[in-house]
Amino acid sequence: MRGTTEGINLVAYSWGLRNLKKGDEVLVSLLEHHSNIVPWEILSKINGFTVRYAKVNDDGTLDYEDFENKLSNKTKIASLSHVSNVSGVINDVKRIAKVAHDHGALMLVDGAQSVPHKPVDVKNLDMDFLAFSGHKMLGPTGIGVLYAKKQLLDKMEPFQGGGEMIKDVSFVGGKQQCDISFNDPPWKFEAGTPDICGAIGLMEAVKYLENIGMDQVLSHECLLTGYAIKRMKECGKVILHGPTDTALKCGIIPFSVQGLSSHDVALLFDNYGIMIRSGFHCAQPLHQALKLQSSARVSFYIYNTQKEIDRFVEILKEIEQL
């Protein structure tokens, strides 16, 4: 896969194109990244099924009750972020997977923000599909992973056609057509020359992180996030969005500075060599739900330190005085 986006698109087109029809429902939530909304909306225009959206609470967390109420026998797949890319809140995907399966629906998890930051056990969480990206976990851009249960992959049709994904392509003169048999998974879904360099790079990143230990990665991020939240609360004009309980989230803090657009805040930090994200973070529906024009987002990983957070807060205090 090129990344999480392509992984979700693979599920949408390889599985969804042939299994979703008029009357069926796909259930997502309003806190999703666009990559977990747009593929389903595009496909719904082709196949005529309905995309439903579970609500979020006032703090941007998932409204579990609404999600579970919207799951029904019409729901064929529930697709949910494991960790919000805006708020960093960890969703209880095991709980949702259980309810989805009780209704006969499959469960797809967008792991772009969870796999790089915490231990993720696909079997324990009973995920049918899990997609994640290399570039968010010290690997190269343009490479990612789609995990799927083998029995699902066996039944799914190919995503793209070409070399490597076939066992046999034989021209039958009588029919004036080619008979094609597909390769076994995962090769069935890997048409063409793969991103070999990217795969090697990603494998090295995985080994590096495994060597550190994902529990350690999460622990370090929790420490930094808690420290940053505590320090950011010293700033009178800074508004923190979403929950601030580090037990509920990974190392992402969305915020606004009163009187400044998020883009101004990002450009100001840029002057000091600090890169933060501004805008919708590819999650416009969540910003609409929270009635935010946009937000600034600071995030941490294994290479960040408390000293860097001190510097960040020092500049934030200067910015809020502008």
């Binding site: 666009h34 657009s261 998020s262 883009h263 101004d264 450009l267 100001l268 840029d270 002057n271 501004s278 805008g279 919708f280 973070h281 590819c282 416009q284 910003h287 024009q293 946009s294 937000s295 200067e318 502008l322």
Partner: protein, 104 residues
């Protein structure tokens, strides 16, 4: 003859509801670009020597010492090109720039 491409590295459309446009000046030309703007636009305010707030043809924008500018309420590419041509080149006819890149 100088062109906008001499000064502008790229133009990015922001992805918030604000729909601001960020112009990134070429690193080696950023100081010259700021000087050109200082000559032609009305400086409303300067903050900490790193932010310059300007008004030009009723459009307000901020230029950062890092070589980036944020334009608000610019309706389309033609208007932005016109502003940049006038600010950087002293020309009233629009120069050629690339389409803003979307970040959503």
């Amino acid at each position: 003859m100088a062109s906008l491409e001499d000064y502008v590295a790229r133009i990015e459309g922001t992805c918030g509801a604000e729909k601001d446009v960020i112009v990134v000046f070429k690193y080696e030309k950023r100081d010259e670009a700021i000087q050109q703007i200082l000559k032609r636009a009305k400086l409303k305010n300067t903050i900490a020597g790193i932010i310059f707030e300007f008004v030009f043809k009723n459009v307000s924008f901020r230029v950062y010492k890092s070589g980036k500018a944020i334009f608000r309420s610019v309706r389309n590419k033609k208007e932005l090109n016109g502003l940049l041509s006038a600010l950087l080149l002293g020309q009233e006819t629009p120069g050629k720039t690339q389409e803003p890149e979307s970040g959503t």
